[in-house]
Structures are given as C-alpha cells and as structure tokens.
Amino acid sequence: MDADLFLTWVRGTGLNISIGIFLLGMLWRLFEIYSLGRKPDLAVPRHRAGASGLHTLFRRSVPPPGMFKRSPVSYVAGYVFHIGLFIIVFLFAQHIKLIQELTGLSWPALPAQFIDATAVVTLATMLLVLAERINKPVKRFLSTFGDYAGWALTFLPVLTGYLANRHLLLAYTAMLALHILSVELLLIFLPFTKLMHAFTLWGSRWYNGDVNGRKGVPT
C-alpha cells in the first residue's frame, strides 16, 4: 500500500471505525458511570449542597500544602503538557476544520508557528514526566502497563503531528497518515483506559466535594 492509499484509508475507513468505537465506548461508559446512582440522601446537608463540589473543582487543581515542594515536576510539567495538548488539539487550524466538519462548530485558530512551538514544549514536558515516572521509585512502583500505554498513546499523536507539520523524518503524506492513525488509536483506547479521565475528571471532583460537603467536611 502506498502512502496516498494509506492516507485515504485513515481519512476514510480508519476514521470511521475509530470514531465509531470511540462513541460506542464513551456512551457506554458515561451511561454506566452516571447511572450508578446513590440512594437519595435524606439527611439535612451539613453544608450547603453544591458549593463544596464547585469549590473542590478548583481546590484539587492546586497542589495541597507541601506537595509542590515534594514533587514540583508532577505539578509544573503536568500543567504545561495538559495546557499544551489543549492548545494543539483545539486551536490548530486543521483540527478546527475537522471539528467543524464533524460538528459544525468552529472558532479562530492560532498561527502554525505558535502551535509548532507549543508542540515542542509539550513533547519535552511529556518526556520529562516519563523520565520522572521511571526514576522515582514510588512512581515506578505505582505504574502499570496501562500508564505507560496511556503515555505513549498521547505522546505519539503529538510527535507525528509535529514531524508531519515540519516535514521531518518521512514524507509529509506518510507522516500525516501516521499522525491520523495514531490519533485513531488514541480514540479507540481512550474510553477503556485511564485516559478516560479527560471526561470523568470534573464530574468526579464535583461528586467527591459535594459528598464531603454534605457530610460536614467542606472544602
């Protein structure tokens, strides 16, 4: 199969399959999680319901006292690469075009050079967090195959996208096809791995904060 045929496949059949599996998995898991339900809490909330949930969204986004000093890389690099991913995924013209095609929504893009620079920073910080995961005994102990796979599934799209955009290593056509393929792998595995946190993070934080608030431990 030549590069052009490969590209057409990932833009057509491949995309079709991966978005299908992604939607299937996402709806499955979201329905499952949100339908778990709890018995109605008949007790009078110790603290105003809701406020604590909202508060926790922010509270858990900043490091607890003392933690920053113990593990600065986790916080700084963690923030940097997440923001980087957001910028690359949602503010690159080509990506917006895809989202527009699929959903009809569009918004202004950032210049390609800025996205390029962001990609470099993102890749560097992702390598840093990987190095730290391997080097710190506690983190290494806690890491499973899923953690490394999740890292790779996230890293590869950024790497191939950057290489394609800069015309490095392989011809643009082949690299673009690899980039799209890597994103399709990410889409397929996202609903079934820890990467699901992209969709459950805010809900679970709210839930925990809210429950704690009701029980009298507001944040």
Partner: protein, 376 residues
C-alpha cells in the same frame, strides 16, 4: 514518417534515427553556437538543473544521436498528447522533437492502418534494444485485456511486445504511471500502470492529469543529454520535477503559516489570495512542479487561479475523497457513528440496568443483623 512534417516545420531535412549527431544537424540548419547555448540555458531551466550547466549540456548534446521513439497510447483521453503538442513554447518543443525520431504515435502520425503498424515494427527491428518507449494511458487486464485494442491487438499484448526491445520506458500521465482514472474504484476494466506489467526495464513515471508539457520534454531532454534517465523518487518520478510538494513551493505558503485561510471561494480571504487548504487543496501531499513551472506559457497554475490543487500527480487521487474537503477532514462520510452511538448507549443502559438488578438483588438478599445474631 509523416508526423515529423507537422512537428518539424523549421527542419528542412530529416535524418534517420541514430545516424547523425545533433551537432551535425545544427550546423546544417545554420544555428550558431551562441543560439544553441541559449537553447541549452532554456533546457537547463526546463530540466530544473543548476543554471550554470548550460555549456555542459551544450557539449553533451552536440555529440548526442537522435534516438528512435515509439509512443503507445492505451486506455487514455489524449489529454497527455494534447498537453505536449499544445505547449506554450513550440520552438523549444520542436527542437526537442528534432532531437528524437518519433517513429510511431497513432494520434499524430498521418500514416494509418498497416502502414502505421509497419513503421512501428521497422523501428522495433532496426533499433532493437535502443529505442525509447513512451506510454500514455493505463492497461486493462480483465478478461484478457479486451477492453482496449489497437489494430486487433490488446494493449497488454502490445506493451509486452514493444517493451522487450526498449532501452527505457517513459510513462506519461497518471494513467500509465499509476493507473489513473481508469484504475479508480471500481476499476471495471482492471486497469493497471505500466510498472505493474513491465518489471525488467527502467521506467520513469511522468505523472499528472495531464503532466506539465515542460516536464515531458524536460525528461526527454535529460535522456538525450545524459543518455540516461534522471534520478527518480520512490514512485519512479524524476526528483527534479517531483521532489517537492506543490505546498512547499506555493507562493501562498506564507498565508498557511500565518493561519490565514480562505473559507469559501468568494470571501474576503479568497480575494486576498489566502491559503486554499480549507477549501480542499491537496498541495501538501502532491508532488509536482506546477507551482514553479506553471501552465499556459508560465501564466499561472490552479492555485494562482484561485482553485485548490486536486493532487492529480499522485496515485489514487481520484479515490482520495472530495476535491473540496481539506486533508484534515474525513475522506468519506462517517457511516458508523450513529450506529456506534446507539450501540454504545444501549450497552451503557444495559450495563446500568444489570447493575441496578444486581444492587436490588443484593438489597433484597440483605438480612438485617440483630443483637441476637451477633451474640450467636
């Protein structure tokens, strides 16, 4: 060969292929060395060689002998021949045609029927192992190749026969290079490229629908000058013309880098000449020389006229999704999404019902512990 008369008006006498050198015929035509040097400068430019090589080309060409060329047209639309014969600088093309002996081309030659076929057979016999074979059009292979025949012979048979004695094969156009439009899905005739059939000869692919005339003549000129085919890329195309993408050499590239895109064909961006990527331009994945060599006497190329590149010099360009959907967009409509969403939702609901059932079962199976139980 009567076709020469139409192509070589300025040439008083025609030599038989392989006899005189080009230098001899130049002297005969009264062309000065300075004039020839100028011609070679144009040739260097044509072949995309460094501009200082004109005198080296002149030295080589003076000693070159006119090769015999057999041109076979298979499953095609004659657009490639039109492109070449209607090219903008006929004098330059004429000079190159003067430098070859076109012994068979069934569209251009005046001879027909047995006479035409005989001239091909003569050339094949007299210059066995030395003639150049030019092919435009794809070769149908289904049902024994009956979907395209010339003088009662299938294209497949003719190609295999003529290719045997060829020094090299030049596949002109996307059809002969990669299968082209006849090869597009569902490919009813089983059309394939020359390189799918002939494996033991050097083949150069000059793809494009049609290819740029200057590229066709440029490759011929290269063969004449150096007696060999130019350096090829992994798809068998000459690197000097197909080495870079349209996007790499596009004058609108700075707008791409700045993120300035035309959103429709008549908006402000389109009027300002911004990048056509979002309107489906295939420039980033298309290797050809349009952006620099241009068309119609250097007038413009599609992007300069406000339309995105279709990618016609790439394999399977016809099946690569809409010409108007950007490369980052789906090549075909997503058919699985609704089904997958329904299945996913159904699975989610089913699992949640199962969970509820389990929970209720656990609840009903739950026995309240009493003090008496604990004291047991």
């Amino acid at each position: 060969m009567t076709d020469h008369e139409t192509l070589n008006r300025e040439t008083p006498a025609l030599e038989i292929a392989g006899q005189k050198t080009l230098g001899d015929s130049l002297v005969q035509q009264g062309i000065s060395r300075r004039g020839f040097l100028k011609f070679c400068t144009a040739m260097a430019s044509l072949m995309a060689l460094p501009p200082g090589t004109a005198s080296a080309i002149a030295e080589a060409l003076i000693k070159a002998k006119r090769p015999s060329v057999i041109w076979l047209s298979f499953q095609e639309c004659t657009g490639c021949t039109e492109s070449l014969t209607r090219s903008y600088s006929p004098t330059l093309e004429n000079m190159i045609f003067n430098m070859i002996s076109l012994d068979y081309h069934h569209t251009l030659q005046a001879a027909s029927g047995y006479g035409a076929e005989k001239s091909r057979e003569d050339a094949m016999k007299n210059f066995y192992g030395k003639y150049l074979l030019v092919v435009d059009g794809s070769i149908p292979t289904h049902d024994g190749g009956v979907y395209s025949t010339i003088a009662g012979r299938t294209n497949l048979d003719l190609l295999q026969d003529v290719a045997k004695g060829a020094a090299a094969i030049i596949a002109v156009g996307t059809c002969s290079s990669f299968g082209g439009i006849p090869n597009a899905n569902p490919n009813p005739t089983g059309a394939v490229a020359v390189s799918d059939i002939i494996k033991d000869k050097p083949i150069v692919n000059i793809s494009g629908c049609p290819p740029i005339p200057a590229v066709i003549t440029g490759v011929l000129a290269h063969y004449l000058t150096f007696g060999a085919l130019p350096e090829l890329d992994d798809l068998g195309r000459p690197k000097s013309f197909y080495g870079q993408t349209i996007h790499d050499r596009c004058y609108r590239r700075p707008f791409y880098d700045q993120g300035k895109f035309a959103k429709t064909f008549d908006d402000e961006g389109a009027r300002n000449g911004w990048c056509l990527f979002e309107l489906g331009c295939k420039g980033p994945t298309t290797h050809n020389a349009c952006a620099t060599t241009k068309w119609n006497g250097g007038t413009s190329f599609p992007i300069e006229s406000g339309h995105g590149c279709l990618g016609c010099s790439e394999p399977h360009f016809w099946d690569a999704g809409s010409f108007y959907s950007a490369l980052s967009m789906p090549a075909s409509p997503l058919k699985l999404t609704t089904g997958a969403a329904v299945v996913g939702a159904a699975a989610g609901v089913a699992v949640s019902i199962a969970n509820r059932v389990k929970k209720n079962a656990a609840k009903s199976a739950h026995e309240k512990a009493t003090i008496a139980d604990l004291e047991k």
